[in-house]
Symmetry: C2
Subunit: 146 residues, 2 copies
Amino acid sequence: MANSQFKRGELYSFITGLASTAIARRLQKNFKQHGIDITIEQWSVLYHLWKKDGLSQQELCSATFRDKPSITRLVDNLEKQKLVKRVASVKDRRINLIYLSEIAMGLRDQTMDLANRTLNEALTDVTADEIELCKTVLQRVYDNLT
Amino acid sequence: MANSQFKRGELYSFITGLASTAIARRLQKNFKQHGIDITIEQWSVLYHLWKKDGLSQQELCSATFRDKPSITRLVDNLEKQKLVKRVASVKDRRINLIYLSEIAMGLRDQTMDLANRTLNEALTDVTADEIELCKTVLQRVYDNLT
DNA sequence: TTGAATTAGTTGCATAACTAACTAAATATG
DNA sequence: CATATTTAGTTAGTTATGCAACTAATTCAA
């Protein structure tokens, strides 16, 4: 039995995603301390736009594993803060293409640096092999359920 | 360097806690399909009360890694649904002790069973060793940040 | 080519998260 | 003993999530 060692008490912290919550909280705090006024969730959207600007909301849904309403509202808030702009696609007018503002482009390097530093803190004494294994296991878990 | 293999692109899904979100969503769906009308977060509070009834809100904060306002409102909602009751401590009137109702006690076995089954689904083809390693790594990550 | 089905995105409602500011009770200090 | 500090819990405001129901544009099919 693959799962016999996974007892109820341990199950809980796995489900709540303790480690990822702790990392997100710390990163949020680091953003704030550096006067960067965006949430982790907003940052995760920007992250994908930095890789490829002009994604559609639907593409952002897939990239961030969020549902459509979540992306609608994240883009709403990013637009309010003048970090992105919705541009209706000419080819298919149902589609909104999301473009970064100058301000958002300027946030890239600083926030990436903070993210990397936060992660280095979190992963002190964790080896590359361990990270690799965790990643593949968590990916398999995800795939099993989707 | 322990972290050299942990690239930016990978960082993201680690932070969002993909796997734990997927498990939580699936468990929520399973609850719903069995007519159990509680959220995962409420369940996580009940979980600790099933282990030890009559915890204070502060103890529930530590046990669930949530802050005080979160517990206040989770208990609010659990009370509305008549699943728990706040009882002021006689020894220290600042403290609310939280007690399970009969209804909540009755939910224990059924929801535990659903949780275990959900986890078995999620952990198909994941070995006990892999689970053990993930757990210790995630715990170390958490400890590094707290 | 017209009506049905699909796809992209929005809106409404309930729950939950974090921060900051607050009240009330208990403890410490002087 | 009186005041200051700490501790337990609540309230308010903003953001985010999930679900269901919705609109509008596009594509498919009879």
